[in-house]
Symmetry: D2
Subunit: 149 residues, 4 copies
């Protein structure tokens, strides 16, 4: 195993569309926040996911999990902390913690696992450029500019 | 203009995901119901949209409109009546009326306009098979089996 | 523990909205199918979730998980098999298997865990009526009418 | 009529969830961008929509419309220009233009109309504080900080 310990902080503002009649963010929407956060992480280390697809690599989700500790609601600013613990070989795991701005107890925690495949969905090893990009940011915490409050 | 006057009735059950914190179906979701209804109409006349795409025809939405008269909510059974008034040449217009089961005043009314394009998004005329399929059902009202109440 | 072993089969048709540019159902949409399936199960045993909410009980999701084995795509008919293994005390767990109609290898498998809370989100025990409704269907397989093919 | 001519620029990044198998942003998602943009506008003039709801005012959508001129896709940065031409009496109309960053031809154009209602959905006049907030920004163009490129 090859430790990397890379953390990234992404911000989203909850929109009305994402609330349900319980006045809470509907449970599937956290997985959209996770996607938004991991794409932001990949852009921030120089390997945008769109570029990976152009180069013939896909990263479909093979597993997803989330625990919901407390409710978020309309107009909340949420911080999505994404953590990559290890360099991927054929699979990539990302862990997510969702916090409301200004709080320390998480709203939700979860993870996704992705496998590297080619355009025909055949499993492949993570591309060298991807590995190098992650490795060059090992141990870092990359913080996006928060949105206007 | 070539009148056709084809009506189709499709049924959806409102799920929790589609409600918002106003306890009403969120306004974008009606457009998903419209999509579900028009795909059902195309299947019912023998030209499933998936088959059209396989044959190289795309039907992207070029315009959409909806008026929201009253709110629908969780577990409501909605009837989506889709109406095609005229045979398409390069554009297809569908009109939608959304009713709650057992009611006569509409919840919402709207329309979508689609253009026929090829795989490179170049405008093309509606394929002959598509026109013939619609024409063979001119004046009909096609009613799906309603879901269990 | 109180075994119950209740299975329910629900059907959904994949709409275009649910596909992504990988031509696969986007990973969050399976959780919407799960919701649709569990609401159908509750209706089929006589305790619609909308009625539970009217009676002051909420069942927020506290955990969700899904494994994606193969891709589903536009117009596929998916069978969502929901399984409740045990009567809930303060939490309810449902397991889901997603199959494409006519196939035996699952597309996806997952589960959700829900806690019973009152209108103020205070944990409560599962209501008696709910327990009785599930118990009266112990060991059954409840099959919805499949949609028209 | 009371002219106001207020423009606001909001930025969104297209996520994978919003694309469909045509590799284009699915047509309903533009209405989510519109919502995101109008909530940002209201925050920027000092009357966040969440606060209006807390004060007992709801602004349900009564009409929505969109024309789709060209496709947007994954990772595009979109600029949503929202324009309020007139002070609302019992209805508020917002016009939207969606541009891809760096381009001048719109991707999409649309509008939404909202009615002011109280918590029982009874129509009411727009609250004084809301009118004053808009009026104090008449003729302005309010530009959000664009996201990191």
């Amino acid at each position: 195993m090859d430790r990397i310990g890379l953390t990234h902080r992404h911000y989203v503002r909850v929109i009305y569309a994402q609330t349900d009649r319980m006045n809470a963010v509907y449970y599937t929407r956290y997985y959209e926040y996770f996607e938004s956060a991991r794409s932001a992480l990949l852009r921030s280390v120089g390997v945008p996911y769109a570029d990976m697809e152009s180069a013939g690599y896909l990263l479909p989700v093979v597993e997803s999990h989330c625990r919901y500790h407390r409710a978020a609601t309309f107009e909340d600013i949420l911080i999505i902390e994404t953590f990559i613990g290890e360099l991927p070989k054929v699979k990539l795991r990302l862990d997510y913690t969702v916090l409301r701005a200004g709080e320390t107890d998480p709203i939700a925690t979860g993870y996704t696992v992705h496998s590297f495949v080619d355009a025909k969905f055949k499993p492949v090893r993570a591309p060298r450029q991807f590995i190098d990009a992650l490795r060059s940011h090992a141990g870092e915490t990359i913080d996006e500019e928060p949105p206007p409050l």
